[in-house]
């Protein structure tokens, strides 16, 4: 019962952060800021959801379940390890490609047109 509650709380928090990332990807003005939302909005939410699922898996304790929980944690580690790197690679590619950094002035120009 306690395990279920912990799992529900963690997964719901993770979903909340997913919402943050998704809304950020849509709303932010330029490529770099969208990259912020895409790269960071995912790490913590993935961590929370997968840890929640691992806790649920451990609730019914046996060796097999513990190993499956270990594998879920391994996925978590993998994503949190790979995510900053792919963020970095993509944003660097954006810089090389010549994306412009958005500033307040751009916004004013847009509204004047």
């Amino acid at each position: 019962m306690i395990v279920d509650t912990i799992c529900i709380v963690l997964v719901s928090l993770g979903l909340l952060f997913f919402v943050g990332g998704a809304v950020g990807v849509i709303r932010f003005p330029d490529f770099y800021t969208r990259m912020h939302a895409a790269g960071k909005g995912d790490t913590m939410s993935v961590f929370l959801v997968l840890v929640g699922l691992a806790v649920y898996q451990l609730g019914d304790f046996s060796l097999g379940n513990a190993l499956v929980a270990g594998k879920i944690l391994f996925i978590t580690v993998f994503i949190m390890w790979a995510s900053p790197t792919s963020t970095h690679a993509l944003i660097r590619a954006g810089l090389e490609e010549g994306q412009k950094v958005w500033t307040r002035d751009d916004k004013k120009e847009e509204s004047e047109k």
Partner: protein, 101 residues
């Protein structure tokens, strides 16, 4: 608990839809690649949740790991592609020197 997992899966799936907007509209190609990468991360989580619903986590965990891996390699390769194939790129002086050496 099952219904909660189904709800969570549907919620993650619903969160992919706004990102599809970025894939369709996204001003430049690299925006789209970023969006695909984000959807890939969400899919990894979704696979584990599907495993929970079907009571076969030990199987779906492998899929999720493989998917995360290929997603990572894919985004790196895409980034590398933009890194190199850009005819309009202006090299800095130090880079030109490096190349001439």
């Amino acid at each position: 608990m099952d219904s909660f997992f189904i709800f969570a899966g549907i919620a993650i799936f619903a969160l992919m839809l706004p990102i599809l907007y970025r894939i369709m509209v996204g001003p430049t190609a690299i925006d789209r690649i970023v969006a695909v990468n984000v959807i890939g991360t969400k899919t990894t989580v979704l696979l584990v949740i599907i495993g929970m619903v079907f009571q076969r986590v030990e199987m779906f965990v492998d899929f999720a790991l493989t998917y995360a891996l290929l997603n990572f390699i894919g985004s790196l390769a895409a980034a590398r592609f933009f890194d190199r194939v850009n005819p309009n790129k202006e090299f800095t002086e130090s880079e030109i020197k490096e190349q001439e050496l």
